[in-house]
């Protein structure tokens, strides 16, 4: 299992390099020159040259890439063009907010989603199933920014239970988590239900009934475990999505975080910050997939055999 984990981690190295090239290049392909933002209107070409030199923008692209990559690997993410602060400090300040929001949202969607999915599959085609599936449809079709605004209107403005915005205390986390988490909950519930219904029809389940096991034990001890392998894959893919996809929610609730940092930096053509935040999000996706694969291997002995 540990050998498997190490091997999977090593497999991420080429992926990381490929992602870094893409992230580096994208910023040089989009229109807009960062130097324009750094110099005053009417500056001479000589002044322009000095600025370009300071940021290494006068060198060739491959050179710029390797310098950048070398710095990144040493933990130096550069200095922000706007504000002149070290990018790593900015990332480290934003990251805890994103992790808290993303982690809480993931936990929320996983626990509630699996619970609802299990109930729906257990009461298949009954009223509980239809109610849950109706809610799932609603939850997965509602755009998050719209849902966020509705929640602010109801819970903050009318009821006054939770703050409208900010990130000062745990109460300020509730509405953003609900906003991001509900779509995930709907997805997880639907996947759990379908995977359980599919697993119920497998041959071995009939033999479990023939062995005299109670229905609840078959469902929770065997069928659910099979369904979880599918759910884990979905959740792992969602880790990156939640961190990146939290952008709109962070904006709606005026929360600090990676998403807010990225949007602001994009608007200001602040290359180093954009690159660093994108790299963080890409790494979150990669680590999420890795985590999913490891849980998968822990759940399914066939995966372990195939990998060893």
């Amino acid at each position: 299992m540990i050998g498997y984990a190490v091997r999977r981690l090593l497999m991420l190295v080429p992926v990381f390099l490929a992602v870094s090239v893409v992230i580096f290049l994208i910023l040089h392909l989009i229109p807009g020159d960062p130097i324009d933002n750094l110099i005053r209107i009417g500056s001479s070409p000589a002044q322009r040259e000095i600025i370009a030199q300071r940021y290494g923008l006068d060198r060739s692209l491959p050179e710029q890439y390797f310098i950048w990559l070398g710095n990144v690997l040493r933990g130096d993410l550069g200095t922000a063009i706007v504000g002149q602060r070290p990018v790593s400090t900015m990332i480290l300040q934003a990251l805890p907010y994103s992790l808290a929001l993303g982690g809480a949202a993931l936990l929320f969607s996983a626990s509630l989603g699996i619970l609802l999915g299990v109930i729906a599959a257990w009461k298949r085609d009954g009223w509980a199933d239809q109610l849950i599936m109706g809610g799932v449809l609603l939850g997965s079709t509602m755009p998050t920014f719209w849902l966020g605004l509705l929640m602010i209107l109801l819970f903050s403005v009318h009821l006054g239970w939770f703050p409208v915005s900010g990130a000062r205390n745990w109460q300020s986390l509730v509405l953003p988590v609900l906003t991001i988490g509900l779509a995930g909950t709907a997805l997880v519930a639907r996947v759990t239900r379908v995977a359980m219904i599919e697993a119920q029809q497998r041959d071995f389940v009939m033999l479990l009934h023939a062995k005299g096991l109670p229905r609840w034990r078959i469902h929770l001890g065997h069928v659910l475990r099979h369904a979880l392998t599918a759910v884990v894959t979905i959740l792992a893919l969602r880790i990156g999505w939640i961190l990146g996809g939290a952008v709109t929610v962070e904006v709606v609730f005026a929360r600090p975080g990676l998403g807010t940092l990225l949007i602001k930096a994009l608007n200001q053509h602040d290359y180093p910050v954009v690159q660093a935040s994108l790299l963080m999000l890409a790494m979150a996706v990669m680590l999420g997939t890795l985590l999913g694969d490891l849980i998968q291997a822990a759940l399914d002995p066939r995966v372990r055999t195939a990998m060893s």
């Binding site: 071995f204 009939m206 009934h209 023939a210 062995k211 005299g212 096991l213 065997h222 399914d300 002995p301």
Partner: protein
């Protein structure tokens, strides 16, 4: 003394259709009953009915009776039924490849019989599991217990399924084509193993198969199903010596013999009709070489034959 298992006039309904009708046979301790017929004749459904597992596929026993050791099973509650399953009535399924939970160790899957039905602790249940595996001459039982289904061969998996059945010390084992998914060399081993166990321990075995050769080798009595009805039931020797139902005759004619010449292996033309398309009268008449007008209109009653019953208007062997 009444038999261990008596199925009488059993009818099974699934939604709007009635795939089984008028099924009856008896089975006693120490006896092997072969339940034969082509695919679609209702053999597996009969097994499900006895196991009380029809609700899984949305069906129910809609008429007749299933008596097991003095208890009427058709009116038994689910909890009481559950205590019979795996303990007094064990089941061996058709495909060992898919019969075991791929995510659980072999040991845990056998142990559960001990913890569930005999109130044993895990350690006690494991000791019992090792005992049963050893009795089945499974080498390195402890290593097998720690492995997962995908690490074992098909024959070994079927032995594990048999071990699971034996762990409950059942009175009745229902084996649904236990060897069809296995290599020919392993098939004979498994069948002999089962037959031996039944004789040794005085259990009853309901052996579902489409292989008349297997029936001839190890069964005491045979019940032949065709399209959801009982065609013929009798003790093995009289049945093979003088099959009364044209369908039984045809099945026996299909067994390859030493004197079967190349290219002359017999078959039965046509196929078993689907549940929704059962013909009126005798359901075998479209394929029966001896069919008369009455066969097309009137359902034949079961009538006695030597050591059994047959449902045919013109029972053989005189006309066969």
């Amino acid at each position: 003394m009444t038999a261990l298992l008596t199925v009488a006039d059993m009818q099974v309904t699934i939604g709007p259709v009635t795939p089984l009708d008028g099924i009856g046979f008896t089975l006693d301790r120490g006896e092997i009953l072969g339940l034969v017929g082509e695919s679609g004749s209702g053999k597996s459904l009969t097994a499900m009915a006895i196991m009380g597992l029809l609700p899984l596929s949305g069906g129910r026993v809609s008429a007749g009776s299933i008596r097991f050791d003095g208890t009427e099973l058709t009116s038994l509650g689910e909890d009481a039924y559950r205590q019979l399953r795996g303990k007094r009535i064990a089941f061996i399924s058709q495909n060992p490849m898919t019969a075991l939970d791929p995510l659980q160790t072999i040991g845990a899957q056998v142990d559960v019989i001990g913890t569930l039905h005999f109130g044993k602790s895990r350690a006690e249940a494991r000791r019992r599991t090792l005992e049963v595996l050893t009795q089945l001459r499974i080498p390195e039982a402890a290593a097998i217990c720690a492995s997962y289904p995908h690490q074992l061969s098909g024959g070994m998996k079927q032995r594990i399924v048999i071990a699971m059945a034996l762990a409950g010390e059942p009175d009745l084992i229902i084996a649904d084509e236990p060897t069809t998914a296995l290599d020919v060399t392993v098939q004979a081993q498994i069948i002999h193993l089962l037959a031996e166990l039944v004789r040794e321990r005085g259990m009853a075995l309901l052996l579902i198969t489409h292989d008349m050769g297997v029936v001839a080798q190890c069964c005491d009595r045979v019940a032949v199903l065709y399209a959801g009805r009982l065609a013929e039931a009798a003790a093995i020797d009289p049945l093979f010596a003088a099959p009364a139902h044209p369908y039984t005759q045809a099945l026996i004619a299909c067994i390859p013999r030493d004197d079967t010449r190349k290219g002359t292996l017999a078959g039965i033309p046509g196929t078993v009709p689907a549940v929704s398309a059962y013909p009126p009268g005798c359901r075998y008449h479209p394929r029966c070489p001896q069919a008369q007008d009455i066969c097309r209109t009137t359902v034949p009653d079961s009538r006695p034959r030597p050591s059994g019953v047959v449902a045919c208007h013109f029972p053989g062997p005189t006309n066969g």
